[in-house]
């Protein structure tokens, strides 16, 4: 018990230095937590993606469509349970900065393939009945303050012209990780308009979403559907939804890796600060440590004293930092930065990493001073003046 007491007494001897070090630790651990959350946010889409659904796209690249007639042929492949269409729309709602994903989907069976989304039955029916209806995710609706019945004007970028949708359904996610920031509307509405305006672009699907009967055969089924369209005008590439989502993250991988790297740099910076604090502390108290040794305490005791002090310091600073991360993440998720991402939430892994780095910080910061103080000869130590 006296050991702990000694540590605490030591820590609060230089109040200012301790205070500043704890403040530094707090900021660093908070920054580390936020940066890790940003990295996680990049992967949010792929995390919530299903490994049992498949996405089929044009093999050249995602921007090329496929003829809608492929749908029937996909259905004919053994192991395919259902197929639906999804087209990336990318319209502008009022202002260009209002970015959120919009898809034209086959309203008839889209939500059947996505049990991840919970849509009230009567709303789903209302959505299906209104050709200009839209189904929007809960978070998106909250962000823009939409209610059922609201009429929303869009201007197209890929599909020129003005578009109008009426909110008919607002859906929730099955659990926390489900992303509910999407905007879905009728593929038929898009297609009918295209037939009038630019018929060459009509009857094309951006991607086909395929549900399979047996997930253990998913790779074989993917190969089988791709083989169906080999040597056609639009060759296809089918992969699981998870792999499809990951391919998007991979395109920005350099940025993601840079953020991850930088998040560790902040730990190294604070490591230098804490190591400095410990070095100064030990230097000032060298004669005290010598006294302890003269009284018969072992070198290990002195080393443990310094490590213990570093540990308490780091746990204290990091503890506050971790506690602050929780409200900070929530705060950021409401800013424009947080809105870019499908989901911006603090994961348990991040908290574990934060706590882990506190331990590493304490260990690294106390290594040199511990060894130095433990090794000091009693005579030299007693002679030493801070």
């Amino acid at each position: 018990m006296y050991f702990l007491k000694l540590i605490f007494k030591n820590i609060f001897r230089a109040k200012l230095r301790t205070g500043l070090t704890i403040l530094g630790l707090m900021i660093a651990i908070l920054a580390f937590g936020l940066l890790q959350t940003v990295v996680d946010a990049f992967y949010a889409g792929s995390k919530s993606a299903s490994a049992s659904r498949m996405i089929m796209r044009n093999s050249v690249s995602i921007v090329f469509p496929m003829p809608i007639s492929y749908r029937e042929r996909i259905k004919g492949v053994d192991g395919v349970r259902a197929v639906t269409i999804s087209n990336w729309f990318q319209g502008t709602y009022k202002e260009r900065k209002n970015f959120f994903p919009q898809f034209a989907v086959d309203s008839e069976n889209f939500f059947d393939l996505y049990p991840d989304f919970i849509v009230p039955a009567e709303d789903l029916l209302a959505f299906k009945r209104d050709r200009q209806g839209a189904a929007v995710g809960r978070k998106l609706a909250e962000q823009y303050g939409w209610k059922i019945g609201d009429v929303l004007p869009f201007s197209g970028t890929i599909y020129p012209g003005n578009w109008q949708f009426t909110v008919r359904a607002i859906f929730d996610g099955r659990d926390e990780t489900t992303v509910v920031k999407q905007f879905y509307f009728h593929y038929d509405y898009l297609n009918e308009e295209l037939k009038k305006k630019s018929p060459r672009r009509a009857d094309q699907a951006g991607v086909f979403i395929i549900d399979v009967t047996d997930t253990s055969r998913i790779a074989d089924i993917a190969r089988a559907v791709d083989a169906e369209f080999k040597n056609s005008l639009a060759e296809t590439l089918t992969e699981t939804e998870k792999a499809f989502q990951l391919s998007f993250v991979q395109q920005s991988q350099t940025v993601v890796e840079a953020i991850r790297l930088v998040s560790f740099v902040v730990i190294i910076i604070i490591m230098a600060v804490v190591a400095n604090t410990m070095a100064m502390t030990a230097r000032e108290r060298l004669s005290e440590y010598a006294t302890l040794k003269a009284l018969g305490f072992s070198s290990y005791f002195v080393a443990a004293l310094i490590f213990g002090e570093a540990l308490v310091l780091c746990l204290f600073g990091s503890g506050i930092g971790i506690l602050l991360t929780v409200p900070a993440v929530i705060l950021v998720s409401y800013t424009p930065l947080g809105n870019i991402f499908a989901s911006f939430t603090l994961s348990q892994d991040t908290v574990a990493l934060q706590a882990g780095s506190a331990l590493v910080l304490a260990l690294v910061a106390s290594i040199v001073p511990s060894i130095k103080s433990a090794r000091v000869k009693i005579v030299d130590g007693l002679r030493h003046v801070g």
């Binding site: 690249s61 990951l246 930088v262 604070i270 230098a272 400095n276 100064m280 230097r283």
Partner: protein
Amino acid sequence: MKIPFSYIFRNLWTRKLTTILTAAGMGLVVFVFAAVLMLDAGLKKTMVGTGSFDNVVMIRKGSETEIQSGVSREQASLVESMPNIARGPDGKPVVSKESLILISLNKKGQERGSNIVTRGVSPLGLTMRPQAKIIRGRLFREGSSEVIVGRNVNEQFDGAEIGQALRFGGRDWQIVGIFDAQKSAFDSEVWGDVEQLMQSFRRTSFSSVIAQLSRSDGFDKLVADVDDDIRLNLQTKREQIFYEDQSRALSTFITILGTVLSVIFSLGAMIGAAITMYSAVATRTGEIGTLRALGFRRPSILAAFLLESLLLAMVGGLAGLFFATFLQAITISTLNIQSFSQLAFSFVLTPKIIIQTILFSLLMGFIGGFLPAIKASRMKIVDSLRAA
């Protein structure tokens, strides 16, 4: 009376471990700060270098990028006949009608594809981009399924070597040459014959029309002419501006992230400097008393400690800057959110960044050392002498 500089320097020298740790912390912050500025400068240089001031890009109104746009053959020929557009020696308009597709290639060491712009260009399109030069192999032949690839595509992606073929649009496209476009965005592209490319994708309209102005100041007139013609549903931009706009989102992202990081990190480093300086003041209380007793005034004491902190920051700053210069050798390729394709750019160090970085480190030193220096200068002679 000023306190000699050697006193200040020797104080840092005596406590090497503390000096190194504090300077290292600051150096890392400066490194991150410089890296972000360099990255943004590199991106801007790439985008500005991509466009020529006297070239204009026309895409369909309402679209934001060439990929989203469509320009019909009729519209394209109307543009060709406009005044204010330069004529070549043969009297033909200097116009390139281009078609863009995105293909998917695997970055070296990755299993999944990244989007690469493949640009179909008219014969004149090559002369309109004088920065692009073939460095290996030869140009593609008109009317053939041959392509040339930009330097970055060649270096950073699999299957982009001369003699290999890219498979898209139901054809194999032979790579016959590598071109270098002086670190512009074109280095991240694949170029081929526009008519062949459109045929293979059964396209009837171009993506964009690039035209050279006959006179640099004829831009406003051309914009007015295009806007007046109701058959032309096009927006016109100078090529330089067009490419700058294309990277705005990425640039903003880098700037915001970089600023936030620099501010947070510098807080940590400033705290480190403050701890060091407070401790320097505390351990040297007796010295301060002696100095004062010798006749050094309070401002001199203040200046000495402040200078010590600034020196510390300067050492850290220069070290950070030194290591940041090595970043210039690195070229990174990442997704440009707006054009939805890969864009390669490097870290670029400019004189302005050097000055900004040094000022930034001095500012950290000043803020970190200010309060301890004040504390030192306020000490009473008697008290401080007694404390020792």
